[in-house]
Symmetry: C2
């Protein structure tokens, strides 16, 4: 079960964090002269590989947010995929942060593209262990992904409580039964995950729960005992270790915390080296220590 | 305002429908020998062009669902884009059905990719007039799209009530104030659309409302007086003209109905020619007549 591999990798690195390679040209230290999408894709891949080379021994996984790459057209999308392949070669687990979904027939096509095999029998183009998906469609939109997860040892993280400031507007509306909208989504996710619970008690169907929402994260941990959390929003977006302590179980497991800009742009922080590879490694170490401090590991 | 152009094109064609080019290899009449993604992309584009050549004078717009194309990797994604460019050249309006979204910074990247311009100043890779987006994140996830819509004359359709059978599970939960979850989303969409209302009283921020849900569609039409509907689910999924009459205003405007498989696979229906181009054209004409019958046009 892929969630077991992720948990084992987290234990091996003693590090419940994931580095978000949400790389854009504007993040690159030396980006003057980049005027076309082909060069953008090449240079972003080069940057990502250098980051991976400097963190693969201490960080269990990378996440890449595909919007940043789609901006550069086909060369960008190629860089997205090559980044995840490179991370995999370096022994890291990979999360394609694509937030896809649709009605069942189209959800099946997305699943073919990211987790499975297409209708001419070719293996998925996009290479990754996990993807993020949108649960708004309900069960028939999730089924194709869950089937491919079971068959091909992959995982998904469904959007439950997102890290952005406006997430309350819709996700925190109260239902007549007292639950919030995000809790109703959480209940569906728990149900969807039941067939894929691994040996550590967590399912390969996980949930996205933003670090910026302490109270909601704690409620969800109590409610979703078999659901592993992908936790964005640490660092740059304002989430910190103390806020997310309660997102984890008593053993300090149950989640993986993402930081993107906090690592990629560490070289712009005067606390760190202005060499982006050194800065990224040190920022990743600091994040690990910060998380382990509150998780008592 | 792009929504005005769409409404004018609908009037010009006297046809409130859009053909969904959700083409996969398995839909092609002669698909034996297609064993690689490059050939898949080429043959799908060829098929789509032939469909477009046979409907562009009677149908105002096409919609392409990107999952079907992402299955074939980069050649598939290229075919997706080339299809929309070809439709545009033929004078049709284009909807990229991508159902993207994320937190604000990543939403901006998606908007750059599909509606705007990237951070090195290059025009978006994906060419289209409208895209579909997910509203789960709330206002800050929608803002970048709305800004690009205003600046660059584009439009979006936000998922409100989807056409799939399971959509009730989440979207029809009841809030403590009596609204359903999809109605709460509808209220947000109405608000988001206010700055972009065109001369016919409809906004370039529209809503996706499935033809399969008669009651919900009628409620939404009463509630969302300035919101144009993209209505999937006609034909293959079980929606019919009588079910969606109430999705339109008293002038028979306010929505555009999508059919994908009903047109693309018409050649497999014994009612039609086994030449897929002739079958698609006749199915598109039949759909137009069927819709106009109930809309009294």
């Amino acid at each position: 079960m892929i969630i077991d591999s992720l948990i084992e990798k987290i234990k091996e690195c003693n590090n419940p964090s994931v580095v978000g390679l949400d790389t854009m040209v504007s993040y690159l230290p030396d980006n003057e002269g980049i005027k076309d999408n082909y060069t953008a894709g090449e240079r972003i891949l080069e940057f990502n590989k250098a980051i991976i080379d400097n963190i693969y021994d201490i960080v269990p996984a990378v996440k890449a947010q595909i919007a940043c790459y789609e901006m550069y057209g086909l060369p960008g999308i190629k860089a997205f995929n090559d980044t995840l392949l490179y991370a995999e070669k370096r022994g890291m687990l990979t999360i394609a942060d694509v937030k896809r979904n649709d009605i069942e027939s189209s959800a099946k096509a997305y699943s073919n593209a990211f987790l499975g095999r297409n209708d001419i029998g070719l293996k998925r183009f996009f290479k990754n262990d996990f993807i993020t998906v949108n649960g708004y469609f309900g069960t028939d939109g999730i089924k194709p992904f869950v089937e491919d997860c079971a068959e091909r040892n992959r995982g998904i993280f469904v959007l439950v409580k997102t890290s952005n400031p406006s997430s309350d507007e819709f996700q925190n509306l109260t239902l007549e039964d007292g639950r919030k909208v995000y809790e109703a989504m959480a209940d569906l996710v728990s149900e969807w995950g039941k067939p894929l619970i691994g040996k550590y008690g967590y399912s390969s169907v996980g949930a996205v729960v933003g670090a910026t929402h302490k109270e909601e994260g704690e409620k969800l941990r109590a409610k979703m005992r078999h659901t592993f959390f992908l936790i964005p929003g640490y660092g740059f977006q304002g989430g910190n270790a103390d806020m997310i302590k309660g997102f984890f179980d008593k053993d300090g497991l149950g989640g993986i915390v993402n930081s993107s800009r906090g690592i990629l742009l560490a070289y712009k922080n005067e606390k760190y080296s202005n060499d982006f590879t050194k800065a990224a490694r040190q920022a990743a170490i600091d994040m690990r220590e910060d998380l382990n401090r509150v998780l008592g590991r």
